[in-house]
Symmetry: C2
Subunit: 350 residues, 2 copies
Amino acid sequence: MSRVVKLAVIPGDGIGPEVVAEAEKVLDAVTAGSAVTFDKTRFSLGAARYFETGDTLTDADLDAIRAHDAILLGAVGGQPGDPRLKDANIERGLLLKLRFELDHYVNLRPSKLYPAFGGPLANPGEIDFVVVREGTEGPYVGNGGAIRRGTPHEVANETSVNTAFGVERVVRYAFGLAERRRQKLTLVHKTNVLVHAGGMWKRIVDEVAREHPDVAVDYLHVDAATIFLVTNPGRFDVIVTDNLFGDILTDLAGAVTGGIGLAASGNINPEAAFPSMFEPVHGSAPDIAGQQKADPTAAILSVALLLDHLGLQDEAAAVTRAVESDIAQRGTTARTTAAVGDAIVARLQA
Amino acid sequence: MSRVVKLAVIPGDGIGPEVVAEAEKVLDAVTAGSAVTFDKTRFSLGAARYFETGDTLTDADLDAIRAHDAILLGAVGGQPGDPRLKDANIERGLLLKLRFELDHYVNLRPSKLYPAFGGPLANPGEIDFVVVREGTEGPYVGNGGAIRRGTPHEVANETSVNTAFGVERVVRYAFGLAERRRQKLTLVHKTNVLVHAGGMWKRIVDEVAREHPDVAVDYLHVDAATIFLVTNPGRFDVIVTDNLFGDILTDLAGAVTGGIGLAASGNINPEAAFPSMFEPVHGSAPDIAGQQKADPTAAILSVALLLDHLGLQDEAAAVTRAVESDIAQRGTTARTTAAVGDAIVARLQA
Ligand SMILES: CC(C)[C@H](C(=O)O)[C@@H](O)C(=O)O
Ligand SMILES: CC(C)[C@H](C(=O)O)[C@@H](O)C(=O)O
């Protein structure tokens, strides 16, 4: 019985196309000769497309993407300060629009320290945790505005919108994940300042915790959480947090586990009402684009998350093992983007 | 000619009274026999006072504090989860109320790595920067609310309020500081998501930058800034940022420079329309309170910031030197809170 997975591929800008090419190589290799086939459609989206047509993401694009089973994305966004992007916001108009329109309420970001890859901490210890970042609410909703713009009397507001519905579903997902891991869940927020949003998060975590008596639950303010991420990252198993705090914590987590070049992520709609989207945490890094300097490992690990999400656990595990063995054997000589992809493919086939 | 400085002292809760006692010792020692006298008034404020009287900060307290030239604060806040604090929020009702009522729009937080005190990074390099955190706007304004509280249909919002007036004055302060330091200023925000608030911050920094052609200006998203804080903290000189991002970055900065036990801060009203307030960045740590385990260094360095703010540069420098030499000679044997204070006083007198 063969299965066809319709995959939308969005290489994007900057280093996006380079890292996606390697991710696709690995995907092709791990599924070669298996019962599953990936039927890929490429979407030209990002700054390049915007320069050509003035569009970021049209309704037609969105409809076409919705008709897929999953999405693999490289990175989007032009050179900061590019005057041609003055009136565009590729991040909001494309990346965040996809997350919101496709109801990616679980932004899943695992952090693991591979011993061969020491990272910046002197005594990191074992690091293996997952941040479950809410993806469709919080300060990311775009409910801001300004009056008297550009004048000395400007007032610019941003509103963080949080719903019990939205918080409960991501909290339930995080508890489910904690059950399958080390049964430890940490809520990160700033309840002493953001008393309304924080209070609701706390209440819902406390409520759902009662259904999971075997999961140990604790709470940290976001500022304190950053301290622990550099002084005792081993204390974390599953972190559940708001959209903005999750953004900040996962970049920091990427840095302490050997760099953002290894950090993968999934933007997940657990009910599969919409296709989920897998992407490296890093951005488009236009300064090194086209030079084969980018590390494709984060994009390749995003393929592992994609496979896992699709129920292809064996293939996911094979990709992860190949990456781990590549990392363990990495020398100090720089390799091209393609060389890293090739090495991982070779390990897969070994 | 002798000068009398009226100092309000708020020891607060937990380890607050212990660290403030040492800070006062140092203040007394450095001003002994000099032309300046500190006339101190103690204010009993914090969780302990709340339990006794139900008050956090009354109008009478505030009037009395306003009549002082400066404030030295230890730490406030009870044991998290203490049921008696259920309806209280000491942080909002006392600490943030002081910052807002006394218009402490500059929250000044220096970060310096003392070589003897390696910190958690394997290769920290030289670290010496100052975060200028806005103190009276942003998501801290308390403009949030919730509907259908406690139900599955709850919606909880938090609004970040930002004004050109408020941003410009703190940005001007930061540029002034950068001029007196290494002429480098980094704006940290999240302009790609918080487009209104972020856009206004960016515009104002660009405008004020034109008056300071010798200051090199760059911009980082808050998530990227956390990466640099652990991979290349030496790149920073002056960071100017919003209230919430500043809260997060300074705890992280404290951690990478050897711990929050060394991080001092000033809540400053540069026009001196109201007394400025000096406090360690750390909290009240109720779990170790009363055990002489807390490091009073952050409180003592806050005294140096206080002296500097009052124009007593020689005294400020003497305290800083005494602290630096104490840090350089620190062995690995644990000292009591009082022993650290005494050692610093001894170095002052040497
Ligand atoms: C590009 C940006 C909008 C995005 C975010 O803030 O979510 C990125 O930082 C991320 O973490 O995926
Ligand atoms: C106690 C809390 C309200 C406070 C803040 O968030 O500002 C603290 O974390 C700080 O940094 O001084």
